[in-house]
């Protein structure tokens, strides 16, 4: 892109306020993000993001690469705490609790959420141990419960049939797509309230992708899902609300059908019709 147009776009997005037309799930909001700004050292990665995640719905985050989707997602379970030189202003509330408050219990917070990362990150242990890891850190020792959880999670992640005979083998010996599904199984093993997924299907074949989408649809209602995706069709298929981000700003946030069919922002229009990105 020409540098002139980039500057123009930045001025453009900075001046234009976010467009909202959020579909309500009728159960209130789970996560409320309020005027969130984030800096990696000197560079600002998020600008005044303001949005709510509706309870029981699936929320998709879309936007061109580098626009801050992962950053925003990782703010929700404070995964960004590990980054040196990180600065955050604004607040994020889980129900009514400010998760960035001094008194907030980060570990308890993370126990209420599950996260699937952009790149699969299985632990150097057996498949079984990987899946039950969230229960293990909670101190669950009941073998029957652990085995049952393992099976349920692996089935939900469409992995059970492939690995049921090698549960005790190292997870590092699996293929990339299998590892990603293993991470999904791990994320849902402890029944999290909110499931954060960062491009969970990027390494998967269409069949596994369809299964994961089914899983997301099954989870919706009971759980709340926030999913980052580059696949427009997928966003359209699985999500109720879609947030479009651009250059660290939230451009448009609202009902998925509207965002994809009659977007209210011209930027969104350009992106979903494939004019840039």
């Amino acid at each position: 892109m020409n540098s002139n147009t980039a500057v123009a776009a930045r001025i453009d997005t900075a001046t234009q306020p976010t467009v909202y037309h959020v579909k309500s799930g009728g159960n209130g909001t789970v996560v409320a993000i309020n005027d969130l700004c984030l800096w990696y050292g000197q560079t600002q990665a998020l600008h005044n993001v303001q949005m709510t995640v509706e309870k029981g719905l699936v929320t998709a985050l879309i936007g061109p690469s580098g626009c801050g989707k992962s950053t925003l997602l990782r703010c929700i379970n404070r995964m960004n705490d590990l980054v040196d030189g990180l600065k955050i202003t604004g607040e994020i509330r889980l129900h009514d609790e400010d998760i960035y408050a001094r008194t907030a219990d980060v570990i308890a917070l993370r126990k209420r959420m599950g996260m699937v990362f952009q790149k699969p990150n299985p632990f150097p242990m057996s498949i079984y141990e990987n899946v039950i890891y969230p229960l293990k850190v909670d101190g669950v020792r009941d073998k029957a419960l652990l085995e049952e959880t393992c099976e349920r999670a692996l089935k939900a992640a469409a992995l059970w049939n492939e690995v049921k005979d090698r549960l005790n083998q190292s997870a590092l010996g699996m293929s990339g797509g299998q590892q990603q599904r293993l991470c999904i199984a791990r994320a849902i093993a402890a029944d999290p309230e909110v499931l954060l997924m960062d491009e969970p299907c990027s390494a998967l074949d269409p069949i596994a992708t369809a299964k994961i989408e089914d899983l997301i649809n099954d989870l919706a209602g009971q759980y709340t899902v926030v999913i980052v995706t580059h696949n427009m069709q997928q966003a359209a298929r699985v999500s109720d609300n879609t947030a479009f981000m651009y250059l660290g700003r939230l451009i448009e946030y609202g009902e998925t059908e509207v965002v994809f069919q009659i977007p209210k922002s011209s930027k969104t229009q350009d992106y979903v019709t494939g004019r840039f990105g």
């Binding site: 040196d84 599950g114 990362f117 632990f123 150097p124 242990m125 850190v137 590092l172 990339g176």
Partner: protein
């Protein structure tokens, strides 16, 4: 716009250049000289290491091969019998030259005034007063290898070279018919059993009595310190001591009576040897370690002698100021010390590295600590020895003695060098290695794995415990291996903090509390130094130096090999199939 202008000009310039000059890569820009010097450096390094290993191994492995005994008759009629040890060129003096025959004078002149001479290991130190003798080639009338000559290894006075005249069993003189004769072998076996029985009595029963008596005395002394000399408790303790002493004395007398009886029997079983000149020497049968007819050995017998010498070397205690016998106490001491050191250095180093890398705020202070730790590795090891002696032995050990062992003062218990202080000193010396290796291993654990664990609701400690540490284990192991190898081979600081030439007792034995961390101990590295440079006869100790060095190298290699195998097993667990 300017970029456009450049692209238009470019082709013209390039074509102009290509007509003027041909582009070439010269040797220097290809880096060939650099490659040669890199390869050369590697080659020199490898040659030096291989040369060193070849020297040590060829000498060490050959030491225990039984050598022939040569009888040299000189022109002047002197007879020398011994193992040829080594040869060298030397310059005979003018007087020696003048006394020689014209042929020899001519030969030496041809060789620029040099003549060859051979060093013979004579044995029979008790008779000759010397261990070795040089025999110049020009002084030799003839060489012989008589088959009846016998090489006798004795428990005292070193080897004897000569013949067996006769032997007595229970006072009755027997004719000697050969080393393999049943009567002779049985007498030898009996004598050995007897010697073992005597040693067992002295070490076991008499040792136990002495130990108990010492404990009782210490009890009295303790009461004296705590309650005073005039107290009733002191009186009672003394009465108790007197009572126990009677019993102990009885046991002591019984044991010594047994020993005396055995010694009397021993004195009636003797072996009479004669050296080449006919002088005789009678030794108790039990002093005979090994005898073989050096010039009349079959290959199987040679192999037998070779391996029995190795077995003795590995499992026995040293004799003859360490120049003969075995090195078992030194192996044991080295192993015990290294193990103890690992037990200290591994947790200490790993915890320090964990704190530095995972918990401490990465700022100037931590950077400073890290630099200091790295610099510690460069401090000369003798400095650690001085510190170990001054701080561990005198300050710490002295306080421990004053607090817990006041009854033994002024004899130090922990207040002098010992196994514990040696292990601690070496831990200090090797802890930087472990810290640096562990820190690197921790830093190499991918962040995605930590994030995965934290996202599952694990605490930081759980993440470290379940994910980071197992994953970093191969690297940590590398650090521990390096520390062990460094520690096992270190000698200088140990000389100050607990290693001795000859330790009367092993640091682990049958007396409570079984592991005696305060005891001084023997060490292979120090053994090499001692035998090679501190013994009565450096020449006699030389083979021992090589053998011990081979052993030390073998031990270090063994330890490293095991650790490397363990490490590669661990590594395999973490190697994925993912690309």
């Amino acid at each position: 716009m300017s970029a456009m202008a450049d692209t238009i000009h470019m082709p013209a310039e390039t074509s102009a250049m290509s007509t003027a000059t041909v582009r070439r890569t010269d040797m220097r820009s290809r880096g060939e000289p650099a490659l040669w010097s890199l390869g050369g450096a590697l080659a020199i390094g490898i040659i030096m290491i291989l040369g060193f290993l070849a020297l040590v191994f060829s000498n060490g492995v050959a030491t225990f091969i039984p050598k022939p005994i040569i009888v040299v008759t000189g022109i002047d009629g002197t007879v020398t019998a011994g193992e040829p040890f080594r040869s060298e060129l030397f310059k005979p003096t003018a007087e020696e030259l003048a006394a020689l025959s014209p042929e020899w004078q001519a030969r030496i002149k041809d060789a620029n005034g040099y003549a060859n001479r051979t060093l013979y290991r004579l044995g029979n130190f008790d008779i000759y007063g010397e261990d070795f003798r040089w025999v110049p080639d020009f002084a030799v009338a003839k060489f012989e290898q008589p088959k009846n000559l016998i090489f006798v290894e004795r428990a005292e006075w070193g080897p004897f070279v000569g013949t067996v005249k006769s032997f007595t069993i229970d006072g009755a003189e027997q004719a000697f018919t050969g080393l393999g004769a049943t009567a002779f072998e049985k007498a030898h076996a009996d004598a050995r059993d007897r010697a073992a029985a005597i040693r067992k009595l002295e070490r076991g029963q008499i040792g136990a009595v002495n130990h108990e008596l010492e404990q009782e005395r210490l009890k009295v002394r303790k009461v004296e310190i705590s309650a005073g000399k005039t107290s009733a408790a002191y009186k009672a303790a003394q009465d108790n001591l007197a009572e126990v002493s009677v019993d102990l004395q009885r046991r002591y007398d019984a044991a010594t009576a047994d020993v005396t009886k055995l010694r009397e029997v021993d004195a009636r079983n003797t072996l009479t040897l004669a050296e080449i000149g006919g002088r005789e020497k009678t030794i108790p049968f039990s002093a005979l370690v090994r005898a073989y007819a050096a010039n009349d050995l079959s290959l199987a017998q040679k192999v037998g002698v070779y391996f029995s010498r190795w077995a003795e070397f590995l499992s026995d205690e040293p004799r003859e100021a360490n120049t003969e016998g075995g090195v078992f106490p030194a192996i044991f001491g080295t192993a015990a010390m290294t193990l103890l050191m690992v037990l200290v250095v591994a947790p200490f180093g790993i915890l320090t590295a964990l704190y530095l890398r995972e918990y401490a705020k990465q700022g100037r202070l931590v950077a400073f600590v890290r630099i200091s730790v790295n610099n510690l590795a460069g401090v000369p090891s003798i400095v650690y020895g001085v510190f170990g002696l001054g701080f561990f032995a005198y300050v710490l050990g002295g306080s421990i003695d004053a607090l817990f062992y006041p009854e033994r003062l002024p004899n130090p218990t922990f207040g002098t060098g010992g196994l514990l202080w040696s292990a601690l000193t070496l831990s200090l010396l090797t802890v930087p290695v472990v810290i640096v290796a562990t820190e690197e291993a921790l830093a190499a654990v991918p962040r995605s794995m930590r994030e995965g664990s934290l996202a599952c609701g694990a605490s930081k400690w759980q993440t470290i415990r379940y994910i980071v540490l197992p994953r970093a284990m191969p690297g940590v192991m590398t650090g521990i291996i390096l520390a062990m190898a460094r520690g096992a081979g270190e000698v200088a600081p140990l000389m100050l903090v607990g290693v001795v030439k000859l330790a009367p007792e092993l640091p682990i034995d049958g007396f409570f509390p079984y592991v005696h961390l305060e005891r001084s101990f023997m060490h292979l590295g120090f053994h090499i130094f001692d035998v090679g440079f501190q013994s009565r006869n450096a020449e006699a100790g030389k083979p021992m130096v090589f053998v011990t060095t081979v052993l030390l190298i073998a031990l270090v290699t063994l330890v490293n090999a095991t650790a490397i195998i363990v490490r590669s097993r661990l590594k395999k667990r973490f190697a994925g199939s993912q690309f």
